[in-house]
């Protein structure tokens, strides 16, 4: 299968363009643009703690970008800022050039726990984004949801309730739900963190298949190094307290990646590289 993501070919003109003459090149505009972003939380004792400190990051349209970092490095906060759930205290976050100040209707969010609503069937759970956003063409909704459920292998469970599904199955429903309104950006907050290692590998594979069949910009947060290398076009490593970016590593492994990829030397090389950056931050303290 050919790699679906092709970098924009017009790169040369951007950097060297003489001032004043260059017309804006919209195709080169990044999907996500974080510009010196900081987020500060205030605790109950009115102490301030800096969750995200001066983070700048651009993510291309269609790119699968994975953020790796220790717990408490503010990586989830970045996602919440982009989802419009948390306000930035400094800097700017924009999606397709529009500043993010409130939630948008073209974002799919996958939570760490599947967060399915237990009183709805699996099908109704997947339909939720369409209902909340009152999307038109109601007649076609169910077919779209069913198509997604088929893709994640859960069509037979459409009429079941979440409590009847295993953790991995629930999270696959969570992914289907995040995709049903065809968002342009998928934000995934440690979606497989609560699953056992085997299920996790299956889910990674599943997510890759899903992404190859419906290319979208993905920002994926994890603290698993192998998960990051397996999934990413590019890995951004963050440090803890305050959260800032310490490394930005493009991952050039052919897709689709599979079990053989996990055992390859280059996979190990990338893992080592990420690990080095992760542990490098621990020594100064």
């Amino acid at each position: 299968m050919p790699e679906p993501v092709v970098p924009p070919p017009l790169a040369p003109t951007v950097a060297g363009a003489p001032p004043g003459t260059a017309p804006a090149a919209p195709a080169a505009r990044p999907m996500i643009d974080l510009d010196h972003l900081s987020v500060v939380y205030r605790t109950r004792a009115s102490e301030r703690f800096v969750a995200v400190a001066d983070v700048s990051l651009q993510v291309r349209e269609g790119e699968f970008c994975v953020i790796v970092g220790p717990s408490g490095c503010g990586k989830s906060t970045l996602l919440k800022v982009l989802a419009g759930l948390v306000r930035a205290d400094g800097g700017r976050a924009s999606i397709r050039g529009e500043a993010v100040g409130a939630p948008r209707d073209d974002i799919g969010f996958v939570f760490q726990s599947a967060t399915l609503l237990p009183w709805m069937t699996i099908l109704d759970n997947v339909l939720l984004p369409l209902k909340v956003q009152r999307r038109p063409d109601r007649a076609a909704w169910a077919e779209r949801a069913m198509a997604l459920l088929r893709t994640v292998g859960l069509a037979d469970f459409a009429r079941s309730y979440p409590s009847e599904l295993s953790g991995g199955m629930q999270q696959r429903v969570g992914m289907a739900r995040a995709l049903v309104h065809d968002p342009s950006l998928l934000l995934m907050d440690e979606p497989f963190g609560a699953l056992d290692a085997l299920t996790r590998e299956t889910m990674n594979d599943e997510l890759q298949r899903l992404w190859l069949s419906r290319p979208k910009t993905v920002l994926f947060v994890t603290h698993s190094i192998s998960e990051a290398v397996f999934l990413a076009d590019r890995i951004v490593v963050m440090s803890a307290r305050p959260g800032r970016i310490v490394a930005d590593i493009p991952v050039d492994l052919p897709r689709p990646r599979d079990v053989a990829t996990l055992d390859s030397g280059r996979f190990g090389e990338y893992s080592r590289q990420v690990r080095t950056h992760l542990y490098a931050q621990e020594t100064p303290r």
Binding site: A83, G84, V132
Partner: protein, 260 residues
């Protein structure tokens, strides 16, 4: 497994038979006056007689109406006020101190006032029952609507859903187990409210009938009504509990208690 079931059903029945026998023999052996403590069979006789001549049905209908309307009004208002307080900071600040004061005061004490305002008919009883039923529902609605898993709220917000979608899709269903717990408490209190209000002053109803029988020193009749009230209370509770399990089917706590 089967032995456990036998014990669970047979045990209480056996105890019941033992207690009734002890009661019957006790009254006979110590020659207690019927006015003080009638024999179980005399209570049964009074119960049968009460239904045979139609008095129980008549008064039961009145009390039933009071409980039904008072309860439904109380639950509706409890949910409405609870939602208003849980969802709006302004209403909370305005109303909460008063609700707290009302909550801690014995609501039955309002009965005389209600009689003065709306008379001795069924209306004052409905009002009292309503006031008694409001609070357990109200308190539970507030707690329920506020203790929603934060991720569920984040889910709706991340989809650009506003306050209304958040309420219908997440808050209300999340609060349902709490609301039903409040409704179960309220159903029992409703009966209490109606009977106590009838004691204060009424023209009909089981509480009214009971005070009449008491003045006539018809102790078997009083016991008969007690049995009747106990049966109604249990039936109402079982109905509310059944409704709870039917509607809030995903709530594990609803089923646990019955060992299912």
């Amino acid at each position: 497994m089967n032995r456990d079931r036998l014990l669970r059903i047979g045990g209480p029945i056996l105890l019941f038979v033992l207690l009734i026998t002890a009661w019957e023999t006790g009254v006979r052996v110590f020659q207690i006056q019927q006015m003080i403590l009638p024999r179980p069979m005399q209570v049964v006789d009074a119960l049968v007689a009460g239904f045979a001549n139609g008095t129980f049905q008549k008064h039961l209908a009145v009390t039933g109406k009071e409980v039904l309307f008072g309860y439904l009004l109380g639950v509706t208002l409890g949910i409405a006020f609870g939602a208003a307080i849980a969802l709006s900071r302004t209403t909370e600040v305005l109303l909460y101190p008063y609700l707290l004061a009302l909550q801690t005061m014995p609501k039955i004490a309002l009965a005389p006032l209600m009689m003065i305002w709306v008379g001795f008919g069924i209306e004052s009883k409905i009002l009292i029952t309503m006031i008694v039923a409001i609070f357990p529902v109200l308190v539970n609605v507030i707690v329920g609507l506020r203790s929603v898993e934060p991720d569920r709220i984040a889910l709706i917000r991340s989809l650009k859903g506003g306050t209304w979608p958040e309420f219908v899709w997440v808050r209300l269903p999340s609060a349902a187990p709490y609301i039903f717990a409040g409704m179960k408490t309220a159903v029992v209190l409703s009966l209490l409210g109606a009977i106590a209000a009838e004691f204060v002053g009424a023209e009909a109803g089981l509480g009214y009938l009971m005070s009449q029988l008491m003045f006539r020193l018809d102790t078997p009749g009083v016991f008969a009504i007690l049995v009747l009230l106990g049966a109604i209370g249990v039936l109402l509770f079982l109905f509310a509990d059944w409704l709870h399990r039917k509607i809030v089917f995903w709530d594990a706590s609803a089923n646990e208690r019955w060992g299912k």
